[in-house]
Subunit: 255 residues, 2 copies
DNA sequence: AAGTGGTCTAGACCACTAT
DNA sequence: TAGTGGTCTAGACCACTTT
């Protein structure tokens, strides 16, 4: 690879066909692949990379942002750039508790409760749960880590009439669906998802040590019990490079 | 916090508490909401906005890129910025043909065939179809538009032994699954998805009048017939602001 | 031909993290 | 306190789209 020609006299280097940003991207890809930069490893500082690749901050950052969008690297707010670990596979219909899902893939799970209160249901939440606006619902907010990296910010909204006193339980260790079954005799018999790609809002970004506005995958989910009643509504925001959603089922068309 | 006095005498405007980029974002949001800028409407040119908001090109572009990531606006390559129409709802298990899905939401569908050939299966494709690497497969590439906007780039890979001569049919008007049934007596009885957020590669970007590297939602799909045999493998790249994936089913856990 | 977005240069200051 | 990423300024040239 040619030395990063210093400012003047770029002369006749062979590889100067591709524009700088793209060359930069490939150079970075080489760095990710060739070296022993394992998953989660930190990249050199931007100023170091700037110097070693001979570019501007802005151009470098564009290349980094591109790789971030591709899901190959990620950043922690004001802390630097890191190599993305392989995506966690999230089987939507397996409905495994988070810990089991993570551990079955030989990875380590942690959960932190950020909030566990009740509050009146907003219009949106009430609509999804089929209750009156203003009815109290339990509001549980958690951050979940994989191998020490915070990747998921969830807000759960539970019908209080279904789960009286559920906030008293240990919500960092136990799975909600397991509590539903063991303490309230409620089983989830149908789930309804909506998925779309967005960005992290400030609260989520905060919990994930990310920059607000970073790329995210939203997974919202409504759980129904054996009587077809909506019992809770979850709003999940994942760091977009951290998961691959999977799904296998029979199609439901009448044809 | 001292007002971020922008160079020359902007005087004493009240809203100078928030940093410029965020103020800009809100100003743009106002523009999207307040005015009669309907879905698909074009935004003013960057230089115009630069002037009217009193910022730099780079700062402006950052705000625009942010709104793009949020799915509120999108860009067409070198043509400008546009207001995103509402997301198309894509029910993964309904398995409706594209045209029906779109038209049932009161929108207009168009399909263009970009390629219809056969070629030896790559290792990845062979693995997904359960065939030997190098076995020929049909390769169909299509671009699909909603209300005149290209939003989906798909590559289909079909087992040639299942669908001899399928390339002779009209692939712009007819749905593949309908052809499977009517001409080959093959029904899709199971589907398997993998979803993740990525970026548009050059070919997809080209077909979607987008910039390569723009945000995208990948949906890959394997269809199985009534005998459990993988019959085709689709790789879909959507403009990420164009869809919301939905899904409703019974969970599959044994518990 | 004019105007647009895409890309790039060469700096700067600030808030925050790490030491 | 030194170094980091986050943000911003003030320009420039090019390829492409549109008129």
């Amino acid at each position: 690879m040619p030395p990063p020609s210093p400012t003047s006299a770029p002369s006749h280097h062979p590889s100067s066909l591709t524009p700088p940003a793209n060359r930069l991207r490939h150079a970075l890809l080489d760095m990710l692949a060739d070296k022993a930069v394992g998953h989660g490893a930190r990249l050199p500082s931007e100023r170091q990379m700037m110097a070693s690749f001979g570019t501007t901050r802005i151009t470098l950052r564009e290349a980094l942002t591109q790789l971030e969008a591709e899901g190959r690297i990620y950043r922690e707010n004001r802390r630097g750039w890191f190599v993305s670990p392989p995506r966690l596979r999230y089987d939507l219909l397996a409905c495994l508790p988070f810990r089991e899902m993570v551990e079955s893939q030989q990875r380590r799970a942690e959960t932190y409760v950020l909030e566990a209160t009740h509050r009146p249901a907003s219009a949106r939440i009430a609509a999804r749960l089929g209750i009156m606006e203003g009815t109290p619902v339990y509001h549980i907010v958690r951050a979940r880590h994989v191998d020490g990296r915070p990747v998921l910010y969830v807000e759960h909204h539970l019908r209080t009439d279904c789960f009286p006193g559920i906030l008293e339980h240990d919500l960092e260790t136990r799975s909600l669906t397991e509590l539903y079954r063991s303490h309230y005799s409620i089983r989830v018999s149908r789930v309804s998802f909506e998925l779309c790609s967005t960005v992290l809002d400030e609260r989520a970004a905060d919990a994930l040590r990310a920059a607000s506005g970073g790329p995210a995958q939203r997974v919202t989910r409504i759980n129904f019990d054996q009587n077809g009643r909506a019992i809770d509504y979850d709003d999940e925001l994942w760091r977009h490079d951290a998961i691959a959603l999977t799904l296998s089922a029979a199609p439901q068309n009448g044809a």
